[in-house]
């Protein structure tokens, strides 16, 4: 029995999340087939065909799949689900949206947001926002899985799988795309950024966040915040890193004026390198920080900007 990986893409290019998820899917047993569903997305299918470990690419190129809405996507995948023991996708907002719908239509269970593949039916996944790791086994013939792609290395591009075109399946017609407003910021998106600079209550005011933005722009980083900073109205809700906000795992996380409440730590403690700048040396954030600097952020942050400049950034 084979594995079907549903590709994340924007109709022009294959998302990095798919390239990493292919590594996980290749460990799930049988041949790995990739489904590219979209509109005008033949180029994406070609890119998917080059991924190491991919045996076949299925291309469903039709206007109804352009935005990967859950209702038509689920109808399509259910129609081709025979022969697959595992149907997987990156745990992107698209995958999170349509995968459980597919699972319920197939009357199978889903394992969400896996971070390791133990064997074809057994996976590790974080629960309680990463404060515990659950090892879960599926003892049934079919399952869906979403993959936390940051936990896997990118697949190589030495493959040459065949691309097979699929016809569209009847759209259930329950939903209609209206429009999309993608953040035009030059900064990367919080959950996929390689570096994140976050501010907490210690920032004292939203007016002080431009200090962090300057650092972020030098580093090509995203800007985040703790719940305390969001609740105090310094920055909007979508900046929030934490258990009830976004869970991030960048290469470098710089926490500025953040004490390190449990709820915040849950959202960032899987970062590769953590830096904490805080004037309270007892702050819990220092217990998870690789590099701690006990200093007043209002002198340390401008100094950091200057030092980064000296370092050629």
């Amino acid at each position: 029995m084979n594995t079907l990986l549903i590709a994340e893409h924007n109709n022009q290019s294959l998302a990095d999340a798919t390239v990493k998820s292919a590594t996980a899917a290749a460990q799930m047993g049988g041949e790995c087939h990739v489904l590219v569903a979209g509109s005008g997305c033949a180029g994406v299918a070609e890119a998917a065909a080059k991924l190491d470990g991919v045996a076949k690419v299925l291309l469903a190129d039709d206007p109804q799949y352009e935005k990967q809405l859950a209702e038509p996507m689920a109808a399509l995948v259910v129609a081709i689900a025979d022969g697959y023991a595992t149907i997987a996708s990156p745990a992107s907002t698209n995958g999170k949206n349509f995968m459980p719908r597919i699972a319920a239509l197939l009357d199978c269970s889903q394992v969400s947001d896996i971070t390791a593949v133990i064997d074809a039916n057994t996976f590790e996944r974080p629960i309680y926002a990463g404060n515990a790791i659950q090892t879960v086994k599926v003892n049934e013939a079919k399952k869906t899985v979403t993959i936390r792609s940051t936990a896997f290395a990118a697949a190589g591009d030495g493959g040459s799988a065949a691309v097979e075109a699929l016809g569209a399946v009847d759209n259930p017609g329950l939903s209609e795309f209206v429009n999309e407003e993608l953040t035009k910021s030059d900064r990367p998106e919080l959950t996929s950024a390689k570096i994140v600079v976050s501010g907490g209550r210690g920032m004292q005011s939203g007016d002080n966040f431009p200090m962090l933005e300057k650092i972020a722009d030098k580093l090509g980083a995203a800007v985040g915040a703790s719940r305390a900073a969001v609740d105090a109205g310094f920055v909007p809700n979508d900046y929030q890193v934490g258990q009830t906000g976004k869970v991030v795992a960048p290469e470098l996380y710089i926490a500025v004026g953040i004490s390190g409440a449990i709820q915040h730590l849950a959202g960032m403690k899987d970062s590769k390198v953590i830096v904490a700048i805080n004037k309270d040396e007892e702050a819990p954030i220092f217990q998870v920080a690789d590099y701690g600097l006990v200093a007043d952020l209002f002198t340390a942050v401008p100094e950091l900007e200057e030092e980064l400049g000296k370092a050629g950034l």
Partner: protein, 249 residues
């Protein structure tokens, strides 16, 4: 318009959870429990729709142990009209919950079901989408804004990299994201009033659905501990270490 809001009782988000030494799960004995934060947002949104004259009745449902009554009471104190508790002490999985909720929907015939996008214990993010599939309804997940327009509901969704707007045919399933609203605190008079609102107690068996667990939890373990780091004295030293030791710049 009738709105159904399913809610879940979970470990309070401020509690530092502990994994049981035998690795069978998380220790829930004597731990503070609260309504799942995303469920609070769902209740708040339903109450706002009622205050705006759009909704006529809000029914809150929870599938769980007897103590989930407290969670339903919290929702009633926020403004919901009545509650349904489907009692079970079994460990429930999203598909099982979705099947029970489908039966509740068929009995109550709501126009809209608003629920949290995920519970902060299992972090599954599945139940709403599964319920939509089982009912053959449309789904507007991760909503940050919603507006009713005749028999359609306009939903702004939080997606990777921005916002997406979709128009859904009703009846529909909505799952809430953080930006949808800020839930209110129930006032004391409303907490008193909520004590008189009805909660209908049901047994899982009353719905005749197979909601038995299907996944095998092999173990639950502690995440890898982070090693204690070092303190640096100056910003210059910090940048040097990030560049030359950690190699992240």
């Amino acid at each position: 318009m009738k709105i159904l809001v399913p809610v879940k009782r979970v470990v309070d988000y401020n509690v530092k959870i502990r994994v049981k030494p035998d690795q069978t799960g998380v220790d829930l004995a004597n731990v503070k429990m609260s309504m799942n934060p995303f469920c609070e947002i769902a209740v708040e949104e339903a109450v706002r729709l009622q205050e705006a004259g759009t909704a006529t009745e809000i029914i809150v449902v929870s599938v769980g142990p007897t103590q989930a009554q407290e969670t339903i009471r919290t929702a009633l104190a926020m403004g919901a009209d009545r509650g349904i508790l489907v009692k079970t002490d079994d460990e429930m999985e999203p598909l099982g919950i979705a099947k029970v909720l489908k039966a509740v929907v068929e009995a109550e015939n709501p126009d809209l079901v608003i629920l949290g996008k995920q519970a902060i214990d299992g972090d599954n993010n599945q139940t709403g989408q599964m319920l939509a599939a089982l009912l053959g309804w449309s789904q507007g997940t991760f909503a940050s804004e919603l507006g009713i327009e005749g028999d359609k509901v306009n939903v702004t969704r939080e997606i990777d990299g921005g916002l997406q707007s979709v128009k859904l045919s009703m009846p529909a399933i909505i799952t809430t994201d953080l930006r949808l609203n800020e839930p209110r605190y129930a006032s004391l008079p409303n907490i008193m009033k909520a004590k008189k609102k009805p909660i209908d107690e049901k047994e899982l068996a009353d719905y005749g659905v197979d909601a038995a667990p299907r996944l095998e939890i092999v173990k639950v373990s502690e995440p890898a501990e982070r090693e204690a780091g070092v303190k640096v004295e100056t910003v210059g030293e910090l940048v040097d270490k990030l560049k030359n030791e950690a190699g992240v710049l």
